[in-house]
């Protein structure tokens, strides 16, 4: 077999191999470990680009692990959606890694690089797998690594937030297992494509159980996506995490959204009888409230990193408003906005860190403090990140929100979507403007702590790359939204995926 045929496994295998190597190298040769981490990141990026190109021809590439055919073995499914997510994860990981290395955050403990690689392995695996139990396992891999990354750097605030984060996610994992048990008992399979075919044959008496399984599974994904009312773990966790880690965590909530997009149409789509689209009626109001709560938090936040955390919640809400429509146009807009909002959230966390490093004792509080180095440059970067996160032109947030508003007109309750998205955008703009003017324009009446002496500007690189990617996403919006549209079409047509995964066993 050629290397090309093994391409889908590489995004999982490369970080899995890199993690132990960095673990061994970290003690004696930390520079080498950093190098291995970067090489792994670039290989993942190359694989993601290759898969993006490969999946672009509309063919779904299925990789049967150990040649065990589906539905008996575990398969990896590389379609357009998976390729988009892989590319996003790889780009974000390189940005976060660069920031961690430049700011020295990776030297605060021994295990940053191995945990980082395992985190990437879990993320990539979750995006690629075509098996529901395997999705659970990769969720666990990425969660266990994220527990370690969250606690990286130690300190009592991180431990406090860590306990809550771990407990919430352990409960989520238990619910995931209950849903899996129900689905296996009902359908006798764990392969998502196979399950999607078998739900149609479930006896009417068991339809209620299938509905429960659908709602439990949706709740688990909602916990990961931090959908109101399951969002309370997020602000504190992301606020206290090391900024480079928080930037990487911007994709963690999107894993929940991705799982919803992947599982609901395939398993609980049209053919599922009484359980067809069961999570949709709950997801719609929850998404509207999430957007409102998130941007209200942006308005009320007391520090820039807390503001970034609420912006992540708000953007997830906006994203889910589009997802909850379950139409090709809305889903295409959602996928474009998903990529944008992940990068914008990461940019906000990184800019907040860059500012906090220059302000010394004042940290990133949205309170006036004494003058600090690079005020103009960091101010401009904050403005760009805020423009992106709130969805103003010219960055991609504007295009994303425009696509969502345009596609939402086909929905019956489109008035709510328009109202909430437009009002939350305004609230977000005011919130960011308020924080920005307090940090950059107002000088403290009393001296306060003197800011540290001007440091090298290398730490500006990572947030600048994130902002450049956002600019590129808006420059290439035509191509990107066309690709997202094709990906949405694939997701909403589970029969094609079933034929690709199951071969001649599919009807």
């Amino acid at each position: 077999m050629s290397l090309l045929q093994h391409l889908p496994i590489l995004p999982i295998a490369v970080p899995a191999l890199a993690a132990p190597i960095t673990l061994l190298l970290m003690r004696r040769h930390p520079a080498w470990a950093t190098g291995v981490s970067f090489v792994s990141g670039f290989v993942m990026l190359a694989c993601a680009l290759a898969l993006l190109r490969l999946a672009g021809d509309g063919q779904i590439h299925v990789y049967a692990l150990g040649e065990w055919i589906a539905p008996f073995g575990i398969v990896l499914v590389a379609d357009r959606l998976a390729a988009i997510m892989l590319l996003l994860a790889a780009s974000l990981s390189l940005i976060a890694l660069l920031h961690a290395v430049v700011t020295g955050a990776d030297r605060k403990g021994w295990h940053f690089h191995p945990l980082f690689q395992f985190q990437m392995m879990g993320l990539n695996g979750a995006f690629l797998t075509g098996d529901l139990f395997n999705l659970f396992v990769f969720f666990e891999v990425l969660l266990i690594a994220s527990y370690g990354l969250l606690l990286h750097g130690q300190g009592s605030p991180r431990l406090k937030a860590g306990v809550q984060y771990v407990v919430v996610n352990l409960v989520g994992s238990s619910l995931f297992l209950i849903a899996l048990g129900l689905l296996y008992a009902l359908t006798g399979t764990l392969n998502m494509a196979d399950m999607g075919l078998r739900v149609a044959e479930i006896a009417p008496a068991d339809q209620g159980l299938l509905r429960i399984a659908a709602l439990l599974l949706a709740s688990v994904f909602a916990i990961k996506a931090a959908v109101v009312p399951l969002h309370l773990w997020l602000p504190r966790t992301y606020d206290v995490a090391t900024p480079a880690v928080a930037a990487l965590f911007a994709i963690m909530t999107k894993v929940g959204v991705y799982s919803l997009i992947r599982v609901v149409p395939q398993v609980f789509g049209e053919g599922a009888g009484a359980a067809a689209w069961a999570p949709a009626p709950f997801l719609w109001p929850a998404a509207l409230i999430t957007a409102a709560v998130g941007f209200a938090g942006v308005f009320a936040a007391r520090s820039l990193s807390e503001q970034a955390a609420y912006a992540v919640i708000g953007s997830t809400g906006t994203l889910l408003i589009a997802v909850a429509g379950w139409q090709q146009a809305t889903l295409a807009a959602a996928l474009y906005y998903l990529v944008h909002s992940t990068l914008a959230g990461a940019a906000l966390f990184l800019v907040a860190d860059v500012i906090a490093r220059r302000r010394g004792g004042a940290n990133d509080n949205t309170a006036p403090a004494s003058d600090f180095a690079d005020r103009q440059w960091t101010g401009l970067m904050f403005m760009a990140a805020a423009v992106a996160a709130s969805g103003l032109p010219p960055l991609s947030g504007f295009i994303g929100k425009l696509l969502i508003l345009q596609s939402a007109t086909a929905l019956p309750d489109w008035g709510w979507a328009w109202g909430v998205i437009l009002v939350t955008t305004l609230v977000g703009v005011i919130g960011f403007a308020r924080a920005g003017s307090a940090v950059f324009w107002k000088a403290a009446a009393h001296g306060g702590a003197t800011p540290p002496a001007p440091a090298p500007r290398a730490d500006l690189a990572a947030p600048l790359i994130a902002l450049a990617l956002l600019a590129a996403l808006s420059a290439g919006a035509g191509w990107a939204s066309a690709y997202a549209g094709a990906a949405a079409g694939e997701v909403l047509d589970p029969a094609v995926a079933a034929r690709a995964v199951l071969g001649e066993r599919a009807p």
């Binding site: 266990i144 527990y147 009592s156 860590g162 407990v167 409960v171 209950i178």
Partner: protein
């Protein structure tokens, strides 16, 4: 005569009830115990998802019509391993959090234990 199904179902129910109650408590030790009970219930539930059958071989061979599904057992094994690791992690995390913040409250707040309340003479 109690049926096998009733026994397993009620055991899962009692474990879930106890697990939820303890998980909602304010102190980390009780939360850890609650999560453990909850995971026991989940493991039993997964095991039962392959249907409850008695005295059957787990592996299919030619000519055998009655067999028990081996897949849930593999799933339970995976779940047990993950839960075991997570329980060990959360115990250490709770301990570190207690030693570092001086509080075993899940919110990290300094709330006196019920015994302290009595001795200090300020109940709620």
């Amino acid at each position: 005569m109690m049926s096998y199904e009733f026994l397993v179902a009620s055991a899962i129910g009692v474990l879930v009830a106890g697990g939820i109650y303890l998980t909602l408590r304010a102190r980390t030790f009780q939360v850890v115990l609650g999560l453990t009970l909850f995971s026991y219930a989940v493991n039993l539930f997964l095991f039962a998802s392959g249907r409850l059958v008695l005295d059957r071989p787990p592996i299919w061979e030619k000519g055998v019509t009655q067999y028990t599904d081996p897949l849930p057992q593999a799933l339970v094994l995976t779940a047990i391993v993950i839960t075991f690791g997570m329980t060990a992690f959360v115990v250490i995390l709770a301990l570190r959090s207690y030693l570092e913040t001086g509080s075993d409250h899940v919110d990290g707040e300094k709330v006196p234990c019920s015994g302290d309340e009595l001795s200090a003479g300020k109940g709620e």
